[in-house]
């Protein structure tokens, strides 16, 4: 289930943000790593180790979430080719461009889509440095230069949902150590994945930690192994709340906490409580400039991408679309089509309405409702006078059956009964209504109030407003009707 054979993964298409990232790199790497038999065992171990959620494994589980790739073993070429580390496990974040991970290790960390039962780690990019860190974190003392996956991989990739959480907590707590820096992003990412879409921001930032250059801002500075540790602190973007910042002390000091805004959904409560921050703390990602402008830019880009993701969910058929420009076009088309539909439907409503007439009114009601309304209608309809109010009445009358059908379905049979007289009454009052004559009978007002309340939980004022307009011509049977109109 988890990490199926590579062929199961969707074919890796262009390097440009395929909608389902996992696949790409993994595919390539898998293909390339045909010879990488060593990979298979790793994969199989990854696949088969859902149960291996030992705490030690848990730590790496988080990392696994990010698609740690056992690159080092491949001699790097196949893996290095896909610089795109696409974390979008769920294939939702297509806009995210793979980072240009230059440097030492074999390229990106292919993400095993199946490894993400928990939702989408979007944009979690792993880079070789991260892999190394992960390896370190997992306790497999990797070889120098970020190669330590071989041992680390097996048994660590099973990602049962509970696993990563534990891993996260572990990781979070281990702030002070070097590994913690590594673990933090991992845990953060895993956490993010667990949290699902709610933490889009945080996820993004975390993912960015891996030297991703969404718009390619970051020069993928070739990282040398020596820098990996420093980059570790970089990785942790959204989560400084943990003592992640402590880690920043090492290596690069360019702690990019220049953003203001305090937007971050950091880790969850498992983290040690952090003093409330008013600023948006952003970490400069690996290989990126650390000045405030670029950081602000990056934050802004992340916000935009997050919003685009939301929009993508709203617009049907946008899943296959990749890229911001095309998505924007789709959105525009959709909005235009909806507006055209409103226009068209309003025209239809305009033409349909006049055709309704009194006689057909009972027919317009749903049958079951009609029965109960029948007797009432007969007695009340004679009171109606002109044809002019008829459409009005029809409209309003239709409102209730419509409301019923719209909302409560057939639950309102008994409730429909009072509707007719109410609406008939309202119909009579059409002209007074239009003229602004209000003062309706209080009974009417009360009646209408009740209806309105039940309908939309609106406050009474509105109901009275309408009821007031209804004429008093209708007194008789109204009082008998005390029904809550369920609209």
């Amino acid at each position: 289930m988890n990490c199926g054979p590579p062929d199961q993964l969707p074919p890796a298409s262009a390097p440009s943000a395929p909608s389902c990232f996992l696949n790409l790199n993994w595919d390539q790497s898998m293909a390339a790593a045909a010879a990488g038999d060593h990979l298979d065992p790793a994969l199989s171990s990854m696949v088969s180790s859902p149960a291996s959620n030992s705490t030690a494994a848990a730590a790496t589980d988080g990392l696994a979430l990010h698609g740690i790739s056992p690159q080092p073993q491949y001699g790097g070429t196949p893996l290095s080719s896909p610089p795109k580390l696409n974390l979008s496990m769920m294939g939702q974040f297509h806009h995210y461009q793979p980072p240009q991970v230059g440097g030492a290790g074999p390229g990106g960390l292919p993400i095993l889509e199946n490894l993400m039962p928990m939702g989408h780690l979007d944009q979690f990019l792993a880079d070789p440095g991260f892999a190394e860190r992960a390896a370190r974190l997992s306790g497999f003392d990797g070889r120098p230069g970020g190669s330590g996956y071989g041992g680390a991989v097996p048994g660590q990739f099973g990602l049962p949902d509970a696993g990563p959480v534990g891993a996260l907590k572990e990781l979070e707590l281990g702030n002070g150590r070097d590994e913690s820096s590594v673990s933090d992003p991992a845990s953060a990412s895993a956490e993010m994945a667990l949290k699902g879409p709610s933490d889009g921001n945080a996820k993004k930032r975390k993912a960015s930690g891996k030297g991703k250059g969404k718009d390619g801002p970051g020069s993928t500075a070739a990282k040398d192994p020596a820098k990996e540790e420093s980059s570790g602190k970089r990785c942790k973007s959204a989560d400084e709340s943990n003592g992640a910042e402590d880690n920043s002390g090492k290596g690069k000091a360019a702690q990019s906490n220049s953003e203001n805004g305090g937007k971050k959904q950091g880790k969850d409560t498992s983290k040690p409580p952090e003093p409330p921050k008013d600023y948006i703390h952003v970490r400069a990602r690996r290989g990126e400039a650390t000045d405030s402008h670029s950081l602000a830019e990056r934050v802004r880009r992340e916000k935009i991408s997050q919003r685009m993701k939301l929009l993508q969910d709203l617009v049907p058929g946008c899943n296959k679309v990749v890229g911001k420009a095309v998505m924007l076009d789709e959105i525009i088309n959709y909005v235009q089509s909806l507006q055209r539909q409103v226009e068209f439907l309003s025209m239809k409503l305009a033409t349909v309405n006049p055709q309704l007439d009194f006689n057909n009114l009972p027919n317009l009601l749903p049958k079951d409702i009609h029965q109960s309304c029948g007797p009432m209608q007969n007695s009340h309809f004679p009171l109606e006078t002109s044809g002019a109010p008829l459409p009005y009445l029809n409209q309003s009358h239709q409102g209730s059956p419509l409301g019923c059908s719209l909302t409560n379905g057939m639950d309102n049979q008994s409730n429909m009964h009072p509707l007719d007289p109410a609406f008939c009454r309202q119909m009579n009052s059409q002209h007074p209504f239009l003229n602004g004559v209000s003062d309706a009978a209080s009974q009417v007002g009360t009646f209408w109030q009740d209806d309105l309340q039940s309908v939309v939980h609106m406050d009474i004022g509105q109901g009275q407003e309408i009821a007031a307009t209804s004429s008093n011509s209708y007194n008789g049977s109204l009082q008998t009707v005390h029904m809550k109109m369920e609209l």
Partner: protein, 204 residues
């Protein structure tokens, strides 16, 4: 008027919407919330729209009624939705300005017609009224310092979107996307409601 919105639990990740709109939403009472903020309650939408519909004078000719209904649709949608939204406020403002324009135009016309021979063409009256209306909108725009300067990462198509979404010309790109999402949700609910109405009316 106070509008109570039914509280919603945090929505689960929304399924991607396929255009499978059900005509009769028996579950409309508890509509599946969209991602993030929920779409306006169907009841609210229905209530506002039906009320607006009810106020339409039946004697209006069809083309004019179409426009009225469309305006009513947008107004009711704006009322039913979150009033704190930028697009909502912009939409309602738009309606108000237009109404003011129309009333002003009517007043001017009447004044001109009654006071003097109808020498001043209608166009003058219209221009006056439209100027008044436009200055109102312009004032609003200027008050904000004009539309925000073109943002860096903003694609070229963004201005088309700005034109579509009410109030979109003064927003930043980021908030434009946000407003678009909300607007889309409400718009979709409104279209569903109207479709149901049409079905109800015409189906019987």
């Amino acid at each position: 008027m106070a509008r109570k919105r039914t509280a919603r639990p945090p929505p689960p990740p929304p399924p991607n919407p396929n255009p499978n709109r059900r005509a009769v939403a028996s579950t409309a009472a508890a509509p599946a919330p969209a991602s993030g903020t929920a779409s306006p309650s169907k009841r609210m939408l229905a209530f506002h729209f039906l009320r607006a519909l009810a106020r339409i004078h039946s004697a209006t000719p069809v083309p004019r009624r179409t426009r009225t209904i469309r305006r009513a649709a947008y107004s009711s949608m704006a009322r039913a939705a979150n009033p704190r939204r930028a697009w909502t406020q912009a939409l309602l403002r738009q309606v108000r300005v237009r109404r003011a324009m129309r009333s002003r135009r009517a007043v001017l016309l009447r004044r001109r017609v009654s006071a003097a021979p109808p020498a001043p063409p209608l166009g003058a009256a219209r221009s006056i009224v439209s100027a008044a209306g436009e200055t109102a909108t312009e004032a609003m725009t200027l008050a904000r310092g004009g539309p925000p300067p073109r943002q860096a990462g903003e694609p070229a198509r963004a201005d088309a979107l700005r034109r579509l979404v009410p109030g979109g010309s003064e927003m930043e790109y980021c908030s434009l996307l946000d407003e678009t999402a909300d607007y889309l949700r409400c718009l979709r609910a409104q279209v569903q409601l109207m479709q149901n109405l049409v079905d109800l009316f015409s189906g019987q």
